[in-house]
């Protein structure tokens, strides 16, 4: 990555250091990013709302504070954008839907938006996403498809499609997304960047539109591990308004990134996680495993049960959330999402109880595993991003629906609420593909240390955007 804070691939660390040193003003950085969004986003459709006026005002405040000799936050002057299920003051929180556009504007920013602002970051807008987050593709029936910056005829992935695309294309050095069954990890994998899904309950969710309470996580995207850690550290802390937040005191990770992997017990997920992989996905896992000196392969065939449990919990909880909307305005939904919600509303209660029993059994299974290991390596997606509109894909010689099967490997991991860093693992010039680095609860520091090691040895590098975008 460049040391020029105005370059398309300038990271958060570079920008914040340059602004703090007075080498560049926050206003200059913001203007450069806004101009880049104007130039590039029409080809990607990552943004649904731009908050340019607000961004420039925030940048002015940073510059005025610096001129006064005041203290600047660790992300001072760093532009960021958020998935449009995050509340942004003055905007209706659309959550990828048509129906939510008629909601009153949010009266305040969501908690994590406020935290990044408190760290000095500058909000540039809201990002495209799958309708009500029930999506792995990034194809939104109302706001249009979000394109992959690396290969624009391919999916950006979802449901945090705009977040993955914006960060990959240098339109948002930091972006925020959500992940219930894979919605941070899939776009990170498809767009060739780093994404962090923290432990369930780590980051407060207040001021966001929900999808599935039992499984919703929030987290950051970035083009470097240090940027990811910087953002994650700024996001931590209690959230009394989120009943599922563990309210743990912040456990910073940025200072320990370079501790390396010596002494870490690292294994590769087998069984379920080694079937239905394309060759690029299999090769990516092998590359990461070799670079981390991974030892054993752990058979995790019961991951299929975990995936099924997460599917049923997601289907039922999200359907209950939308029941009134389904009664009054079913035709205003994307048909694919609507029909999922209809079905989810009709599931037998016994299935849900069974799903919660299975979820606990799986979490206990993984807890026993993580007494023996520190990091588990698993594929993020079955393959690189499919083409936009591709309805089916072939895995292990079997043709299957694309959309639900993109999350085969992410869904079992989030079912147990474990922290995951998704790292880019493709060879240069190939379509991006990510790999999951999973740790025990509350050990995001280990995920990030392993990710940093891969970055330092050159195995995990962010992908280069398509030449047609005029960036690289």
């Amino acid at each position: 990555m460049t040391g020029d804070p105005l370059a398309w691939d300038a990271g958060a660390v570079t920008i914040a250091a340059s602004v703090a040193a007075g080498d560049v003003s926050a206003s200059e950085v913001t203007l450069a990013v806004l101009a880049r969004i104007d130039a590039v986003d029409p080809a990607l459709n990552a943004f649904t709302d731009r908050t340019a006026e607000r961004a420039l005002a925030e940048a002015d405040q940073i510059d005025a504070e610096r001129a006064r000799g005041g203290a600047l936050g660790p992300l001072a002057g760093v532009p960021f954008a958020v998935k449009n299920l995050f509340d942004i003051e003055g905007l209706a929180t659309r959550a990828g839907s048509a129906l939510n556009r008629s909601r009153p504007p949010a009266t305040a920013d969501g908690l994590l938006v406020r935290k990044l602002r408190a760290a000095g970051a500058v909000l540039t807008g809201a990002l495209n996403m799958g309708e009500y987050a029930y999506d792995f593709t990034g194809e939104n029936a109302h706001d249009g498809v979000c394109r992959n910056p690396i290969e624009p005829d391919h999916m950006a992935g979802g449901s945090s499609s705009g977040s993955g695309a914006a960060t990959a294309a240098g339109l948002a050095p930091i972006s925020l997304g959500s992940d219930t069954n894979g919605s941070i990890r899939v776009p990170a994998s498809f767009c060739g960047i780093f994404g962090l899904k923290p432990t369930y309950g780590r980051l407060g969710r207040s001021g966001t539109f929900p999808f599935c309470d039992s499984l919703d996580h929030l987290g950051p995207f970035a083009r470097s591990v240090r940027d990811l850690a910087l953002a994650y550290d700024a996001l931590q802390g209690p959230d009394p308004a989120d009943h599922a937040c563990a309210n743990r005191p912040p456990e910073p990770t940025a200072h320990s990134l370079d501790q390396g992997i010596a002494g870490l017990r690292i294994a590769v997920a087998g069984g379920w996680f080694q079937r239905r992989l394309t060759e690029p996905a299999r090769a990516a896992v092998t590359r990461i495993a070799e670079a981390l000196g991974a030892g054993a392969i752990v058979d995790l065939d019961d991951a299929e049960i975990a995936r099924a449990a997460a599917f049923l919990i997601t289907n039922a909880e999200s359907a209950a959330l939308h029941l009134d909307r389904l009664r009054a305005s079913a035709d205003a939904f994307d048909p694919d999402t609507r029909d999922r919600f209809f079905a989810g509303a009709m599931l037998p209660a016994a299935w849900l109880v069974d799903a919660q029993r299975a979820r606990r059994a799986w979490a206990e299974r993984l807890a026993r595993l993580f007494r023996e290991i520190d990091i588990l390596i698993a594929p993020a997606t079955p393959g690189p991003a499919p083409a936009i509109g591709q309805a089916t894909m072939v895995l292990d010689g079997v043709e299957m629906s694309t959309r639900p099967n993109i999350g085969l490997f992410t869904q079992p991991i989030s079912c147990a609420g474990l922290p995951v860093a998704c790292v880019p693992a493709a060879l240069p010039g190939a379509l991006p593909i990510g790999v999951q680095l999973v740790a025990a609860p509350w050990r995001e520091d280990l995920c990030l240390r392993a990710a940093r090691h891969l970055e330092q040895v050159g195995v995990s590098q962010p992908a280069t955007p398509h030449p047609s975008l005029g960036l690289a």
């Binding site: 039992s214 009394p240 019961d302 299929e304 049960i305 099924a308 449990a309 599917f311 049923l312 289907n315 029941l323 389904l326 009664r327 079913a330 048909p335 694919d336 609507r338 029909d339 999922r340 209809f342 079905a343 989810g344 509303a345 009709m346 599931l347 037998p348 299935w351 109880v353 069974d354 799903a355 919660q356 029993r357 299975a358 979820r359 606990r360 059994a361 979490a363 639900p404």
Partner: protein, 70 residues
Amino acid sequence: MAQDWSPDRHIDAMAPLLGLTVTEAQRPGVRRFLEVARSMAELIEGAAPPDTLDLAPVFVPISPKRPDDG
């Protein structure tokens, strides 16, 4: 699992109970997702030991005390 289950009969029974209207055009999609859900339920049936009811979520009673109360 029941061998003679019909997603259409299920929709016919459940939709009115929930106050939902599923049109003929919407029915094939809803049927498909019900069948997927059923296949998922079949996978988890019997996964937990019998006569146990250890659920993932645990309810924590909510104290009337506010955080800043003494």
